[in-house]
């Protein structure tokens, strides 16, 4: 039962609004700063309201090579998109097949296979970063999208989640499909996939954000600016200059970098919450 006390209710809303404002403040300040000129920003405290240089700043980022990097923001965002989609779709594809094999088939070493995949849950790429670089370099995959994507999809989160999802499907479904004479591929396509749609969407949201926001691995795997992602480009803007950082560009680039995953999370809020809580179970 929830207490209905007008005073307490008002206080609840007030505190929530304060919380939301504080959490939004860093992004708001970045947004307003990105619409001022460099000279404006250097003359004092960061502005709380918009200036008139927004179009100039964003146009410069998108059309001209970024200082210190030599490629435009458009290219960087494109690279991020390729990597995020590659990781999300790649991980879902290989995990879907593996989970399907583990749940719907009997074969020797099945449990061993499951555990081999399961162990990878524990260790993110950061732990084995040096030898992973060695392996990827040996295959000549440094500075390729494949090299940026593959080590990051070598993990079992999605397999584990989809296995749980498949196990919860009613076995009557399977029997009905067998009576219809459906083989493994038709059963997957016509029964399992449609019923797992929500889980797949949830998984996609989480994996897309995970892929878009990767830092350490693309920093090493993308040696040349041609393959650099939006997230790793930001450091160049802020840290490489001896003088004051060009904050009007850095904040604008921050906004561009943040926009795609935030749009995904807001538009797919329902799947996001579900994906997050499922993935950790």
């Amino acid at each position: 039962m929830r207490y209905r006390r007008p005073g307490l209710d008002g206080l609840t809303h007030l505190l929530l609004i304060i919380g939301a404002v504080i959490f939004g403040l860093p992004l708001w300040l970045a947004l307003t700063a990105s619409t001022h000129s460099a000279a404006d920003l250097q003359s004092g405290i960061a502005p709380l309201w918009f200036g008139d240089q927004g179009l100039v700043n964003y146009w410069q980022l998108l059309s001209q090579p970024m200082p210190g990097l030599g490629v435009s923001a458009l290219r960087l965002l494109g690279n991020s998109l390729v990597m995020a989609l590659g990781i999300a779709l790649g991980k879902i594809a290989i995990s879907l097949l593996a989970a399907y094999a583990i749940v719907f088939f009997r074969f020797p070493c099945r449990t061993l296979c499951f555990w081999l995949i399961f162990v990878t849950l524990m260790l993110p790429v950061e732990v084995r970063i040096v030898p992973t670089y060695g392996v990827v370099a040996r295959f000549g995959l440094i500075d390729t999208y494949a090299g940026m994507i593959l080590p990051l999809i070598a993990s079992a989160t999605a397999t584990f989640l989809l296995r749980q999802c498949f196990l919860s499907l009613p076995s009557e479904l399977f029997e009905a499909a067998r009576l219809d004479g459906a083989g493994p591929l038709r059963f997957l396509k016509d029964f399992v996939l449609p019923l797992s749609r929500t889980n797949l969407a949830a998984l996609f949201v989480i994996m897309f954000i995970y892929g878009w926001n990767q830092y350490l691995w693309p920093l090493l795997a993308a040696n040349s600016p041609d393959h650099a992602t939006a997230v790793i480009s930001l450091k160049n803007l802020v840290q490489s200059t001896d003088t004051l950082p060009p904050w009007q560009l850095a904040t604008a680039m921050t906004l561009l970098t943040v926009l795609p995953p935030v749009v995904v999370i807001v538009a797919m809020q329902r799947f996001f919450v579900r994906g997050l809580t499922d993935a950790e179970k």
Binding site: R2, Y3, A46, A98, F114, L167, F174, V273
Partner: protein
């Protein structure tokens, strides 16, 4: 492992075809590098990377006896503790509030969860801007109170900067789990307590908080894992591990020793130690999961 009663029989090749892509990726990009780490941890490479020599546990001895490693360990532990306390406290407060409201609940949820989508690197940058020595809003606000802020020089302030950025980012993750936990608490339990005359605060501390403790424990481990691995990007965009190693975490040190210092044996030994640490955390997590299933 639970066994599904109904399976495709008489397909002996199909399951292997289905498993092949995942097994290949995991073998090449997980087990191979992990085994390589394990092997290199027992070898020393010469300066030109031409030869190597088996040294037993010497790399581990060297790492574990160096003050730098323990300093990084201490930084990581303190960092984890501060982020866990801050992000979980804030998230619990906001989740309890968001659970109470009838109007605008969905809007509040969106407004409080979107930072999850922000990359740790970007979170670092946003707060670096807020704390910029020249034009940072917070720098000027602190100056009013007589605090001189320069995270590039002051070790405590540098740590505070990355801690605040991490709390800001990790809060939304904790918020989602606390809110889900709150919504699973049966309303009848709280109603019964209310009929017995327990006020909202009594209800919270007597019923809600104990029932949320498994969630809180789970989040404690997840926040530590977050600080261990994800904050590399936050640090690399703000303080670069400085000043004087004040923000050099275990993973940041591993990166510096492995890629900047080219110390293959030492960084591999650190990798193995990190694997052990994560293994322990995962084990604790599983013990807790088992107990939760038994509820």
């Amino acid at each position: 492992m639970p066994i599904k009663m109904t399976t495709f029989e008489r397909h002996s090749v199909t399951p292997w075809l289905l498993l092949a892509p995942q097994l290949a990726v995991v073998a090449i990009f997980f087990f191979w590098p992990a085994a390589e780490s394990l092997r290199q941890a027992f070898y020393v490479q010469d300066a030109f990377g031409l030869g190597e020599r088996f040294v037993g546990l010497a790399n581990f001895q060297h790492v574990l006896s160096s003050p730098g490693y323990w300093h990084a360990f201490g930084v990581t532990a303190l960092f984890s503790l501060l982020v866990a306390a801050g992000a979980m406290g804030l998230a619990l407060l906001l989740a309890v509030l968001a659970d109470r409201v009838l109007h605008g609940a969905r809007l509040y949820r969106v407004l409080l969860t979107w930072p999850y989508a922000v990359a740790p690197a970007v979170a670092g940058l946003l707060w670096l801007f807020m704390f910029d020595p020249v034009l940072g809003v917070l720098t000027h606000a602190l100056a009013v109170f007589g605090v001189h802020w320069d995270a590039q020089l002051d070790p405590g302030q540098a740590l505070a900067l990355v801690v605040i950025a991490s709390i800001w980012q990790q809060m939304s993750y904790n918020f989602v789990f606390f809110l889900a936990g709150l919504q699973m608490i049966p309303a009848s339990l709280l109603e019964a307590a209310a009929i017995d005359g327990a006020g909202p605060f009594r209800c919270f501390f007597g019923i809600t908080l104990p029932l949320l403790s498994p969630t809180a424990f789970f989040l404690l481990v997840m926040n530590s894992v977050y600080v261990l691995f994800e904050t590399f990007a936050t640090i690399d965009n703000t303080t670069l591990g400085g000043p004087g190693g004040a923000t050099r975490t275990l993973v940041y040190k591993l990166y510096e020793d492995g890629f900047v210092g080219r110390d293959l044996g030492g960084s591999s030994a650190q990798s193995v130690l990190l694997m052990l640490l994560v293994g322990v955390l995962t084990f604790i997590q599983f013990r807790y999961l088992e107990r939760r299933v038994a509820y």
